[in-house]
Symmetry: C2
Subunit: 283 residues, 2 copies
């Protein structure tokens, strides 16, 4: 914190209430239609705001403005924001809560430009590992998979078909900053996403609890060491047949005990880490 005092409300500045037009405009970003119309999304809490400011400073994402309550912790973020020309608005607790999608609002919310990443751009650097989400409906799950993909060293995450919006507040939160770390492209056309992956040199592997082949056998046979796009289906229904038919193979995570399945995020963790390990060992 270069100058602790600059984080304090400026003299004569009353906090904005939830009825102020600036807060009302930002509140529209809690809905997908509002985000797409304004081309912006909300990043809430100290961690997400810190990552957003880092991305802003690096030039990879623009932070438009920051809302903070008087009692927001991590006042250093307010100094950082001001230092790089991001306006900071003091808001009431109620106004901050109106921008929050969490039970315990943190009193710190950044308005960020919605990245418009095309498929080709996301795959331009020919990443060796990519996660593709098809029809994932829970934003927390989607955000957690982005975090896992980042941890496993994936170079992109592709939200395909009817998958939940990556910039939903709960997805942003569950990604714990990973949404700012790697390109995330969205495309409703699942076929186009799979074709783009194949053209980028990726082998298309679906995670499917009913697949004949299992992950450990494929790993042992060296099948996971090459560039791979892992394709994950919905929590309830898995991958539709018409998607599976477009993949190079499907693999199941072996179930050594009596559990019927893993949940999406833990299955994705096991699959993506199996590829990461195989690639690092090979490479």
């Amino acid at each position: 914190m270069a100058d602790g005092t600059s984080a304090a409300p400026r003299p004569g500045t009353a906090p904005l209430t939830e009825r102020s037009s600036r807060v009302a405009v930002a509140r529209k970003l809690t809905r997908r239609a509002g985000r797409e119309k304004a081309g912006a999304f909300l990043a809430e809490g100290a961690q997400a705001v810190g990552e957003a400011l880092t991305a802003h400073t690096a030039g990879s994402l623009r932070v438009r403005e920051l809302f903070a309550t008087e009692h927001a912790r991590h006042a250093e973020h307010l100094d950082r924001a001001r230092a790089v020309g991001v306006p900071v608005h003091l808001v009431t607790e109620k106004a901050a809560a109106s921008l929050s999608e969490t039970v315990t609002p943190q009193g710190l919310v950044a308005v960020c430009d919605l990245p418009a990443v095309e498929l080709d751009a996301a795959l331009a650097e020919r990443p060796a590992l990519v996660a593709v989400l098809v029809g994932i409906s829970d934003p927390g799950n989607a955000g957690t998979v982005v975090r896992v993909a980042d941890a496993a060293g994936a170079g992109a995450v592709l939200f395909a078909g009817d998958t939940v919006d990556a910039y939903n507040g709960k997805a942003v939160r569950a990604s714990t900053g990973s949404l700012f770390h790697l390109p995330v492209a969205r495309n409703r056309d699942v076929g186009a996403v799979l074709t783009a992956c194949r053209e980028a040199g990726l082998r298309l592997v679906g995670a499917d609890g009913y697949a004949e082949g299992d992950l450990d056998t494929a790993d042992h046979a060296g099948e996971l060491a090459g560039p791979t796009a892992w394709v994950f289906g919905s929590e309830a229904h898995g991958l539709p047949d018409e998607v599976k038919s477009q993949l190079d193979t499907t693999l199941r995570v072996p179930l050594y005990g009596r559990a019927e399945s893993l949940n999406l995020a833990t299955a994705a963790a096991v699959c993506l880490y199996a590829s990461a390990r195989a690639q690092h060992r090979a490479g």
Copy 2:
């Protein structure tokens, strides 16, 4: 469904309301103190109730009674319950909701005997893989780790120290039946849990984001092929130093990208599956 009609409310039987003493007594089981006093817990929803009835039929768990609304799906469970002598009580939607810890109550709740599994009993069969939870506070996370441990073929899960109650409604739900598949022992004395694991021939390995050694290197060196108790710390603070000092080693999940960490359930999935894979390959 042997006889679909038997699932219908019996003539002249009015559904129990949330004010009936039977429902009021069961409602006390939504709290830990109530569960411990009554020696019982609630299993909600078709999947959990189905697993509970399977365990009841196998003699590994007693189901005391079942509450169901008129509109509960999976009426076959009511027939199954009656066939094995478990009383079924018709309840109102409001009464069922009062027993539920979910946003969308499923209208089907079983009252089950709380298993009193001692450490020694949980480890009696000398399992090759065990998960130990130390200070996990979120019931959903705890239940998900039970599910992952089951999937990876663990022979027991041990809830140590201040870890949340395994029989919390949200933990039961997140375990998706795995709580009925393997012995789960609880003990507030972390040292006693670790000693019991060591005496059962298990190597104690802590998951720690700050550990020097990493999982893949240890795996490659053959360190994961032997009997292992994986020890997982709290979501926010990880493992305390005094616990780490009692372990044989700690390992971190390698972070190949820019994510700072994995969440508990995904880290546990990667660790437990690394051991399962190594053991199955070796064995």
